[in-house]
Symmetry: C2
Subunit: 135 residues, 2 copies
DNA sequence: GCAAGTCTTTAGAATGCTTCTAAGGTTCTT
DNA sequence: AAGAACCTTAGAAGCATTCTAAAGACTTGC
């Protein structure tokens, strides 16, 4: 590579995924700017606009693979409304119910204390805090 | 009414809903015992077992109406996985990702402190804490 | 570089959950 | 009891997501 763009080929390979044209194009849209909250549909629209057509099935495949590889996390806010989040650090969300928008806020400010022990035989996976607001 | 069962006719009417046979049968299954987490499908199976057949469309209609009336709350834990919760008091949830079970825990024990102010022009609706665990 | 092997993409079909349609039935009001 | 309003229902439709299987792309060893 002779330019200064991040080498998604390397990170995809490190995640155990072949760096195909489609996955590289999707990774660029997802990870080149700041943090993003995308749906499969919105990402599909964006990547098509880059003149690298990718099928919707491939967008779903890639999002699920990226999530399974730890490159993304999934946030479910409402039935049939799932966002993929490029911010994989500790943080929580505002969800604006009236228009479907999702905003981050750092978990550093928030204290979630006094959680009971997980049910017998289970191990903690993640604590999601979703603050639902309306306009 | 001559027996000692709760009069769902009254609570349904208070919620602005006609106490039809179907809604009363559903209310009985939902509210007669302790708190419940049901899906449309699971409730449909239960009410059919009471020999009062109700269509699945009616179960969906009733769950949405009960929720809109504040008799139930909806908890979305995963894409395509929505529970209706008869516990409408303040509490939070353990979600066992590996088998789809949902358990309550009281919010009294839990402190969620330091939440940032809601985005401009929005009002707080609810704070959901979902503690995800795996077996 | 080339072939073989493996993995990926894709269009379109299928799925699963939820909502809609519109026709017939129930409940409420007078 | 009659009219009006509302409710239930089967089946169709909708929507997000996954599956199928055939064609294409990437990788490895030569
Ligand atoms: Mn998914
Ligand atoms: Mn619903
Ligand atoms: Zn986020
Ligand atoms: Zn609950």
């Amino acid at each position: 590579m002779s330019d200064n763009s991040p080498d998604f080929t390397v990170s995809l390979r490190a995640a155990g995924l072949r760096p195909t044209r489609q996955r590289v194009a999707l990774a660029r849209v997802l990870f080149e700017g700041g943090h993003r909250h995308v749906t499969a549909e919105s990402l599909h629209a964006e990547v098509k606009a880059t003149r690298m057509p990718v099928s919707l099935a491939t967008v779903y495949n890639a999002l699920n693979q990226f999530r399974d590889a730890g490159l993304l996390r999934e946030v479910v806010v409402a039935p049939g409304r799932s966002y993929f989040d490029t911010n994989i650090g500790h943080h929580h969300h505002f969800y604006v119910e009236t228009d479907g928008e999702l905003y981050d806020f750092p978990s550093a400010d928030v204290v979630v204390a006094g959680l009971p022990a997980p049910p017998e035989g289970t191990r903690l996976s993640r604590v999601d805090v979703i603050v639902r607001v309306r306009r």
